[in-house]
């Protein structure tokens, strides 16, 4: 079966800093892929390039046989690749319900249908379904600015899923979440995603999460993929142990063009 997403030799330089160096990877449909690496290793740069926020210096990104390298984020979203953010990007002065309704309204809009009423029965039904699926119904009428971090993360992911993407990229879904909450959150997310039959790539620092939820690991180091294997193999790989797991002290001089800094 041909891959759903393919990176062909993509590189990205910021001046003298190399954030991605000849990255080649092919993702098949329905895979759940974990992207690991120390800060500055090029994980978020990779996500940013796939979703169009950054353009690679060289190389090609192919989605379902189509070159998407030069497209804008909104065009890539329309094609079926969506993402969540490390720092949730939600509409802070709107309620959870309004956030989702806005997202649904945009997703349903093609051309002039963006002028249809936003509060219409079909969207409202979908909105309620999303609230239930992501377990945030209790916060329906809370302002996004007042939400606990975990709920805001879920909202962020739910908004990314509104367009029913073929691929979802999650940027550190558990960062900022307490240890006893993280599995609950991931269970909710992963079961919701399974229902939607979406291919998932997620950036993660937490090896427990990686071990538990992914079928394949991509380990980044200095912009390169140093390991591409199932978790059982990858997490014991000597290079991964040395350069990824060993370097898990949090350097914050992040050289990545981070969208959510």
């Amino acid at each position: 079966m041909s891959p759903i997403l393919e990176a062909r030799g993509i590189s990205k330089n910021f001046g003298a800093v190399t954030a991605a160096k000849d990255v080649n990877v092919a993702i098949s449909q329905d895979e759940v892929v974990g992207i690991i690496g120390a800060n500055g290793a090029g994980k978020t740069t990779f996500v940013n390039m796939v979703t169009g926020y950054l353009k690679p210096t060289s190389g090609q990104i192919v989605f379902e046989g189509r070159d998407i390298t030069q497209l804008e984020p909104r065009q890539i979203t329309r094609l079926g690749i969506c993402r969540s953010f490390q720092v949730p990007q939600v509409f802070m002065t709107e309620t959870v319900y309004e956030n989702l309704l806005t997202a649904l309204g945009i997703a349903a809009a093609t051309g002039f249908s963006v002028l249809r009423y936003m509060k219409r029965p079909d969207l409202e039904t979908q909105c309620e379904a999303l609230l239930t699926r992501y377990g945030i119904g209790d916060y329906r009428d809370h302002l996004a600015s007042s939400l606990p971090q975990g709920v805001r993360k879920l909202l962020d992911i739910a908004m990314a899923m509104v367009a029913r993407p073929r691929i979802l990229l999650l940027d550190e879904p558990t960062s900022g979440i307490s240890t006893d909450e993280k599995f609950g959150l991931m269970d909710t997310v992963m079961s919701a995603l399974r229902e939607e039959k979406v291919t998932v790539l997620f950036v993660e620092h937490d090896m427990e999460i990686v071990e538990r939820y992914v079928g394949r690991v991509l380990a980044f180091y200095q912009g390169e993929i140093i390991c591409d294997a199932p978790p059982a193999e990858a997490l014991v790989d000597p290079k991964v142990k040395e350069f990824v797991i060993g370097e898990e002290h949090h350097r914050r001089d992040d050289a990545e063009g981070n969208a959510d800094a």
């Binding site: 909104r74 979203t77 990007q89 509409f91 802070m92 709107e94 806005t102 997703a107 963006v114 509060k119």
Partner: protein, 320 residues
């Protein structure tokens, strides 16, 4: 759980009927104030659409002036005074210019958006004050309008005809904007103000959304300017295009509040009454009173007059 019923449309309709009936008995001077208020309200309605997105233009007198001068030039050069021709023409000119400038201005936010709008409006002002053919700083007069071919002989009749037409236009514009605000595109205002990145990642172009809002606001300001020119029977740069007029339009927008499409109409009448009475009682201190009012609104009534009314009538503000 469902939002309380939206009273905007019945409210506007009742307002229209009351205004039409009142028009028959209202004294001449009050009709004058209402005509001027409503023409300003149309421009303010456009600014409100922008403001909900977090954008404030310090140069909308540009489109106000374009509308006013379009009507005036049509009358002066071509002898056209039919409202059904001049007013749509003014809107067309304003929105066309807005459409082209929109490609530039949609890239700007905050203070840069305000400053670029200001620069555009001052370019027009700079041209008008030096153009002898258009009367320079003195401007020139606008011929008495006709409606559906009927021109009124008496100035007073003319005023009341204009008033009725204006009530109709204001009602129509308010309904259209209200409908727009309920659409997905119209609802993108807070979303864009809060987080442009997310809007893009949901698959919609922020630039496009802002462009649409900008052209709408240009068309509405052009419409307002056209009617102002007709009600004053006169155009001139200092009372239509100068930056102080743009400031005044923003002021009325803040005074009105973003809560409802009815707010600009109420806010404009309040403003015109404050100004008229202040000018009558204290001719050398009317700007002082207006300025103090503005400060009071900024500090104590950030939701504008509308939020005050909403509070008095016991409804939650805007039900957002």
């Amino acid at each position: 759980m469902t939002a309380s019923r939206d009273w905007t449309i019945p409210g506007l309709t009742i307002g229209l009927v009351v205004m039409l009936v009142a028009g028959v008995v209202l004294p001449d001077w009050l009709l004058n104030i209402l005509n001027i208020s409503f023409s300003r309200a149309l421009a303010v309605l456009g600014l409100m659409v922008l403001w909900r997105t977090g954008l404030i233009s310090f140069g909308h007198a540009f489109y106000y002036g374009l509308g006013a001068y379009t009507v005036a030039i049509l009358g002066k050069e071509l002898g056209v005074s039919e409202i059904l021709v001049t007013v749509p023409a003014a809107m067309l000119v304003a929105s066309t210019v807005g459409f082209f400038l929109g490609f530039i201005i949609r890239r700007y936010r905050d203070i840069f958006f305000a400053m670029l709008s200001l620069a555009f409006s001052m370019v027009l002002y700079g041209i008008l004050v030096k153009t002898e053919a258009l009367g320079s700083t003195d401007g020139f007069s606008v011929p008495t309008p006709s409606f559906l071919g009927f021109g009124a002989e008496e100035a007073a009749d003319n005023k009341i005809v204009l008033y009725f037409v204006l009530c109709g236009i204001g009602y129509g514009a308010a309904l259209l904007v209200h409908r727009y605000l309920q659409s997905t595109l119209g609802n993108l205002s807070t979303a864009i103000r809060d987080n442009e990145i997310r809007v893009e990642y949901l698959g919609y172009s922020v630039a496009h959304a802002i462009h649409v809002k900008y052209v709408m606001s240009a068309a509405l300001a052009g419409l307002g300017g056209a009617i102002l020119a007709i009600s004053l029977s006169q155009v001139d740069p200092d009372s239509m295009v100068n930056w102080t007029i743009s400031g005044e339009l923003v002021f009325v927008t803040i005074l009105s509040g973003p809560g409802s499409v009815a707010a600009p109409f109420i806010g404009s009448v309040v403003f015109e009454l404050i100004r008229t009475y202040a000018f009558e009682w204290l001719p050398h201190a009317w700007q002082l009173i207006v300025g103090a009012t503005l400060l009071a609104i900024i500090f104590f009534l950030p939701g504008g007059v509308w939020s005050l009314l909403a509070r008095i009538f016991g409804r939650k503000e805007g039900e957002r």
